[in-house]
């Protein structure tokens, strides 16, 4: 069976709205109390909203089959998306069995995604690398400190762009880290670890 979708953007938006709405509605109905119209329980409002979202999603969905719309271009396909989710789920499960914290599973999954994206789906580099750079920065801040995690953030993010020159990015990194330390650590006294946790004395601060 091959269904011709006339408006792919609306089609997938409809699918997204229907599934999200249905998820919120069903989850609320099965986990929380409904209550009455006078005394609304925690499930009441989410159920109504979820239902509304399914209805709106259905409208978009039906319209997409009838009316012509712009085509959708994505640098990845639905299989890639499933693979990405499976990587995180699988690693989370393995790390849990080995007794290692969930944070490391998230880190490991992100690193695997970066490698896969760069090797097999260069089109997804902006999406994967920018998101991954933030995640890595956040999860490595405590063990590695501001100086090293910012380096990872800047270099990974810069690698997502069209041009990557080591010298340029290096200079940019130095400027940014000096600025961050002066403004955020010294100026605004935000409690960031500057140096890696394994260093016993930190020359800065």
């Amino acid at each position: 069976m091959k269904l011709r979708i006339k408006a792919p953007k609306d089609f997938w938006a409809g699918v997204m709205f229907i599934s999200l709405g249905a998820f919120f509605m069903i989850w609320a109905l099965t986990h929380y109390q409904m209550g009455t119209a006078v005394r609304m329980g925690p499930a009441y409002f989410p159920t109504v909203l979820g239902g509304l979202m399914v209805f709106l999603g259905a409208l978009v969905f039906i319209e997409s089959l009838a009316m012509q719309g712009p085509s959708l271009t994505l640098p990845f396909n639905i299989v890639d998306l499933v693979v990405a989710v499976l990587i995180y789920a699988g690693l989370g499960w393995i790390f849990k069995l080995m007794g290692i914290g969930g944070d490391y599973a998230i880190l490991a999954g992100t690193v695997v995604l970066i490698v896969l994206s760069v090797l097999f789906r260069p089109g997804t580099k902006p999406l994967v690398l920018i998101s991954a750079a933030c995640v890595i920065y956040g999860y490595l801040m405590k063990p590695l400190g501001l100086i090293l995690s910012t380096a990872l953030l800047v270099f990974i993010a810069a690698f997502a762009g069209h041009e990557f020159k080591w010298k340029e990015v290096g200079i940019l990194y130095v400027v940014l880290i000096v600025f961050s330390i002066l403004v955020f650590v010294k100026g605004l006294t935000l409690p960031f670890p500057v140096c890696p946790a394994f260093m016993e004395t930190c020359p800065i601060r």
Partner: protein, 502 residues
């Protein structure tokens, strides 16, 4: 005379050195991000929210407000010189401003934009001072039913004004409302949609969502498009407009100011809508509509005055009702809440120095902006030559630092990245993120007012249409929806957006 006394109180607050400094920092930053394409006021304010924690409430609001209206000034510079909107509200300024620059009249275009904006800013400040107190008076009488209906109206207005499909925009609002419900239910104490993640029990931070949807998502989208920016390198030339220019610009500025001030107050309004509206009006009224798009000075003066007026009057619903009209105002409410101030009509009476200080600072900020934008224009032009590949890693660093410092928890950064991906998907599916953000901030408020209203009426939903004020809001929402749903007007609206996009 009460207004005069209040304004004197406000100016006393606004011209204290520390507040002058924060107003200056705010408008400087605003101009900076306004000039740079790809960085908007929403992301910037979200980025700075964690930092305002260390400031006094007045200083924080003065600075954040400066960023919003400062961005309207800066955006026009890029629009005129590069033919790119530095800020989304200056999209229409590109049409005629860039044409003027190509004819060697960049100077007069910039001067008209700056002076027009200054005039509009002054008028809008006065309008806030006059209109806000009586509105707050009325709002104090609002019960839960009125609040609920008002929020419905605000959300409907936000969807009507979004680009593209109306149904998708409403669905995005609902999505935002649902996301806003994540966390502990205030009435029953039940943890909703937290999936046993302890960090979610307080709900998702608004700042985190805004940064993901508007910050990282935008960077990803920009990187995918590739870099193609040509700076208009010709000299700006003399700034002084000719006498003919002035004669044509003045009525346009007046009309733009009036229209912008009005559209800014409406829920869902603000700078963006105002500038679009003003351009259409100028084109309709002009004796030479054929000159539009070819360098008509009215096409610069009107929208620029309107977007600045709209940016400022959009503070009125936020300050008097505690309800945000657009995403920036939602962030302002976030800033108030960080400071432990419950936004609403009582702010004006309980904290007059905050309220009037903010209003007075807007005038001060506008004066700064004229100085920043005319004599120092060369500095901003230099900035335009900085390529995006230097900018976006810097933006990412600041965003990540800001989000991480919220609670020193990597989980927040993860959520930001996830919302970056969601935002990217929404862009690809042509679903506007702005209505979602409004829904997100209003979700818990709406549920609470709905519950209270239903409790008071003993479960009778007709309470929303039997109370006159509430009925008025509901009727207005229905009319708005009908207007947009009608095929003829819908077509016009689509055309308008298409025309203004090019």
């Amino acid at each position: 005379m009460e207004i005069l006394n209040n304004l004197i109180l406000g100016f006393g607050v606004a011209i204290s050195p520390i507040h002058l400094l924060y107003a200056l920092i705010g408008v400087m930053l605003g101009t900076l991000i306004g000039v740079l394409p790809g960085v908007g006021p929403v992301a910037t304010i979200a980025m700075l929210l964690p930092i305002t924690f260390n400031l006094s409430p007045i200083a924080a609001l003065i600075m954040l407000a400066g960023i919003y209206y400062g961005a309207q000034y800066g955006g026009s510079t890029t629009a005129i010189l590069v033919n790119l909107p530095g800020e989304s509200a200056s999209v229409v300024t590109c049409l005629d401003g860039y044409q003027m620059a190509r004819q060697g009249r960049a100077g007069p275009a910039l001067a008209t934009a700056a002076v027009g904006s200054f005039f509009a800013g002054c008028v809008a400040t006065l309008i806030i001072a006059v209109a806000a107190p009586p509105l707050a008076e009325v709002a104090l009488k609002f019960g839960p039913a009125e609040y609920f209906s008002l929020m419905v109206l605000g959300l409907v207005a936000a969807t009507v004004l979004a680009h593209g499909s109306l149904i998708k925009a409403i669905a995005m609002v609902v999505f935002g409302l649902l996301l806003g419900l994540i966390g502990t239910d205030v009435n029953s104490g039940v943890l909703r949609f937290t999936f046993d993640v302890p960090e979610l029990s307080d709900g998702i931070g608004f700042v985190v969502v805004a940064m993901g949807m508007f910050g990282t998502a935008e960077i990803i989208a920009n990187l995918e498009q590739g870099e193609h920016r040509e700076v208009f390198t010709s000299k700006v030339g003399r700034l002084m407009p000719t006498r003919e220019d002035i004669r044509r610009a003045i009525p346009a500025v007046l009309r733009g100011t009036a229209l912008g001030s009005f559209l800014g107050i409406l829920p869902g309004g603000g700078a963006l809508l105002s500038s679009f509206g003003a351009y259409t009006v100028e084109k309709k009224l002009s004796k030479h509509p054929e000159q539009f798009g070819k360098g008509a000075i009215e096409g610069v003066a009107g929208p620029e005055a309107a977007n600045n007026a709209g940016a400022q009057t959009s503070f009125i619903p936020m300050l008097t009702l505690g309800i945000p009209g657009n995403a920036v105002m939602a962030l302002m409410i976030g800033a108030l809440m960080i400071q432990g101030i419950a936004p609403g009509p009582q702010v004006m009476n309980e904290k007059p120095e905050l309220f009037w200080g903010l209003i007075a600072s807007m005038w001060v900020g506008n004066a700064f902006l004229v100085i920043l934008n005319l004599p120092l224009i060369g500095m901003w032009i230099k900035l335009l030559t900085v390529p995006y590949r230097y900018l976006y890693p810097a933006i990412l660093v600041f965003m990540s630092i800001g989000v991480f410092s919220l609670s020193n928890n990597p989980f927040d950064v993860l959520i930001m990245a996830i919302f970056g991906v969601i935002g990217y998907i929404c862009v690809k599916l042509e679903c506007e993120p702005a209505p979602m953000i409004l829904g997100f901030i209003l979700g818990p408020l709406m549920e609470e007012n709905l519950r209270r209203a239903m409790l008071l009426s003993r479960g009778d939903p007709s309470t929303f249409i039997t109370k006159p004020i509430s009925a008025g809001f509901i009727i207005a929402s229905v009319i708005l929806l009908l207007i947009v749903a009608l095929p003829a007007i819908r077509k016009k609206r689509d055309e308008a957006f298409v025309e203004q996009k090019t």
